[in-house]
């Protein structure tokens, strides 16, 4: 009974579980071990209220938590033990930090008196995770656990989200305390929602209203602040073209006439080249990553830049903002919208036509043959385009990292919001499969498809065990070119085709899936592709579709490393 738990003496471990329930946590991804055993013991009595998914490696747990947070408004929660359990989380924590995912990791730690003695499975988790967490804390007393959890969730989720580690010593888990939970409502040294400066909003509105060639770059911040509607209103009211970053995909409907495509190294031709022609660049919740800007010294130098971001340290970090708007994107856009006039309609339509013209060029030179090739071998791009058509742009699409990721984000058109799950900043191979598991658990009614390459799939392939264990109907679309394709592409273009350790001798993936009781099929010929994709999408259970694709397909267009966005090459 909920009301009985307060002011009752419990162990620290039970206090942790109760606090998680009080926060509203429903799902946890984790892996037990010595130093977290009291917590798992307490969980035993609460497994009906707190659903725990036993992954097959801690890295799988944190990527699953990331996928879970990406497609919902919830915080991803991870349990891991001390030492290797915690260090196995490190890649995912770094990934969550750079991609602003709200995650709380609870790690067990050796007893307080053993800390610093090189005890069995002891490692300095706080020290190791300090550079890659938004916040972390070690709890050594049972009585401090509930407050630490309340604070951890508040920090992870508020402002610019990020990962938090709560490291709890084993004696604190065993210790007794009177359970008491108080929601964290604020921290005096922490200001997650800076007050929007109305003067800057007015300046931004002035610039936008007087612009002839305004251009919106929409980033992940739009999704995180839930300002998709405001973005749509801004674009429509002002007739402004919108392009998206990798993480901004699905924030603005891809089928909208004002949507002009995807930015960055392998993005669309128009958005890249016209960045250097617009007169006002309106960046919303994005951080001018080097994969977006190309050569910074030549990036949008002709344009006035308005930069909306909740994180003051992003302003002027890479690109100088003529008008910085610090604050939550939703709040900022709500203040901006009444000041926007539907001015310069004709000029803006002319400007939009420039994007259409660029799209035609890209279509003729790249897209046409990419989605409808005449080569004997299957191209990744045609697979993704067919998948997009069959799923009507409405699936949640997780990707791993590499060529298939760039191809998917190019050729899958995201019609529904919060449907793109990928590792952008860190570029973590092995992210895709566990992230898709987390996404499916958060959105069980949605079709969740993970597109993986043959390299990344094998980095967390053990999570097929998690899929089998919990009957998680994730669809796996494996694009197998028997290469580490992106590295191979760079070797071809920049290292004189010296293919140093990029060719992969692969196992029978379908047999592996079968061993995990996952149904699957391998397609090697174009004529079988459509039917196989349908079968995968229609399957009620998890499914692996392996498609043997062209071994040496390159992803184009491409802004070569160090080149300007206006130097994007099409072939």
């Amino acid at each position: 009974m909920i009301h009985d738990k307060y002011n009752k003496e419990v162990t620290g471990a039970e206090a942790l579980i109760l606090a998680l329930l009080d926060v509203g946590v429903k799902d946890v991804f984790g892996y037990p071990g010595g130093a977290i055993m009291p917590i798992y013991d307490a969980l035993y009595d609460y497994s009906d209220k707190l659903k725990h998914y036993l992954v097959r490696h801690e890295q799988g747990a944190i990527h699953a938590a990331q996928g879970y947070s990406r497609v919902s408004d919830r915080v991803g929660v991870v349990f891991a033990t001390s030492g290797p359990g915690a260090t196995n989380l490190v890649t995912g924590i770094a990934d969550a930090q750079i991609d602003s995912n709200p995650i709380v990791c609870v790690t067990g730690q050796v007893a307080y008196h053993l800390i610093g003695t090189d005890a069995f499975q002891e490692t300095d988790v706080i020290g190791i995770t300090m550079p890659i967490t938004k916040w972390n804390i070690q709890v050594t007393k049972a009585g401090d656990i509930a407050a630490a959890i309340a604070k951890a969730f508040y920090i992870a989720k508020s402002g610019r989200p990020g990962p938090v580690v709560v490291d709890i010593t084993k004696d604190a888990q065993f210790g007794k305390t009177i359970y008491n939970y108080k929601k964290c409502e604020g921290i005096r040294s922490y200001n997650p929602y800076p007050k929007v400066n109305i003067e800057n909003i007015k300046q931004a509105a002035d610039l936008i209203n007087n612009a002839k060639k305004p251009f919106i770059l929409c980033g992940h911040g739009v999704l995180l602040s839930g300002s998709q509607k405001q973005l749509l209103q801004l674009a429509e009211k002002g007739n402004i073209s919108v392009a998206s970053t990798l993480h901004g995909l699905s924030a603005f409907p891809a089928q909208h006439p004002l949507y002009v495509g995807y930015l960055g190294m392998h993005g669309n031709y128009g958005p890249n080249i016209l960045t250097n022609e617009c007169d006002v660049l309106i960046a919303i919740g994005m951080r001018f990553d080097d994969r977006v800007t190309g050569k910074v010294s030549t990036y949008a130098t002709q344009a006035k830049v308005i930069h909306f971001d909740i994180d003051p340290s992003e302003i002027n970090k890479i690109i100088h903002a003529d008008v910085p708007v610090i604050g939550d994107a939703k709040e900022s856009l709500n203040l901006l919208l009444p000041l926007i006039e539907s001015a310069n309609v004709e000029e803006r339509k002319e400007w939009l036509k420039r994007f259409e013209k660029c799209h035609q060029i890209e279509f003729e030179k790249v897209i046409k043959t990419a989605i409808n090739p005449t080569t004997p071998s299957i191209k990744m791009s045609e697979v993704i385009y067919k998948f997009h058509k069959l799923s009507e742009g409405k699936a949640i699409v997780a990707t791993d990292v590499g060529q298939h990721q760039m191809i998917t984000t190019r050729y899958y058109q995201f019609y529904d919001t919060n449907t793109n799950v990928t590792s952008g900043g860190l570029g973590t191979m092995g992210f895709g499969l566990p992230a898709a598991i987390g996404a499916k658990i958060a959105q069980p009614d949605k079709q969740v498809v993970v597109v993986v390459g043959d390299g990344g799939f094998q980095m967390t392939i053990q999570e097929l065990g998690t899929i089998m264990d919990y009957d998680i109907p994730v669809k796996i679309l494996l694009l197998n070119n028997n290469f580490l394709g992106m590295v191979r592409q760079w070797q071809q273009l920049f290292f004189e085709k010296r293919y140093s350790f990029t060719e992969l001798k692969n196992p029978d993936f379908i047999a592996i899936a079968k061993a995990y009781k996952i149904n699957g099929k391998k397609v090697t010929e174009r004529k079988d592709l459509n039917g196989a994709l349908k079968e995968m999408l229609d399957s009620k259970d998890a499914y692996l579709l392996e498609v043997l694709v062209e071994a040496e397909e390159n992803v184009f267009p491409m802004v070569a490393y160090g080149a300007s966005v206006s130097e994007i090459i099409l072939e």
Binding site: I126, P131, W135, S189, N191, Y193, K195, S313
Partner: protein, 178 residues
Amino acid sequence: METTHTIFVFTEDIVGLLNRITIIFTRRNINIESIIVSESEVKGIFRYTIIVTVSAERIEKIVKLIEKQVDVMKAFYHVDTEIISTEIALYKISAEAINKNELFIKVVNKHCATIIKEFLDYIVVQKTGDDQEIMELFNDLEQFGMLEFSKSGKVSVTKSIKTLSTYLKEIDISNSQL
């Protein structure tokens, strides 16, 4: 152009926060020339004084990142002309060498230094001043046999008259408006 910047950071009293702040410099391969941490005039709030030599553009970004840390209340940076700073140095000198030399007291007086401890086998001299003054005394005292030498790192205050309490009130007000 790289110049000397003094950063003041006001923080909560949290285990490991020093590390969280210094790794911002480590990650960017920036050498911290001096760092002092002690409790400020407000109980429970700590004051860091960090000295680094970086460009104006870089320092702005670094200070934003420091301030971004959850347990940091406020961070400021200043160039040398905006602050008043001084340093304390202690010189431990063999008593035996001094006994044989009448010059010793003259040197101490000339540098406006003070003798703060006298023992049978050594004497401790204290000097407050800038780096140049401290090192001039060091050079003059070396002839007597320097047993040990230590300096504090720069302690600084700003020339502006806004107090920490004012800033803290501003933070409280802006938080209460949320």
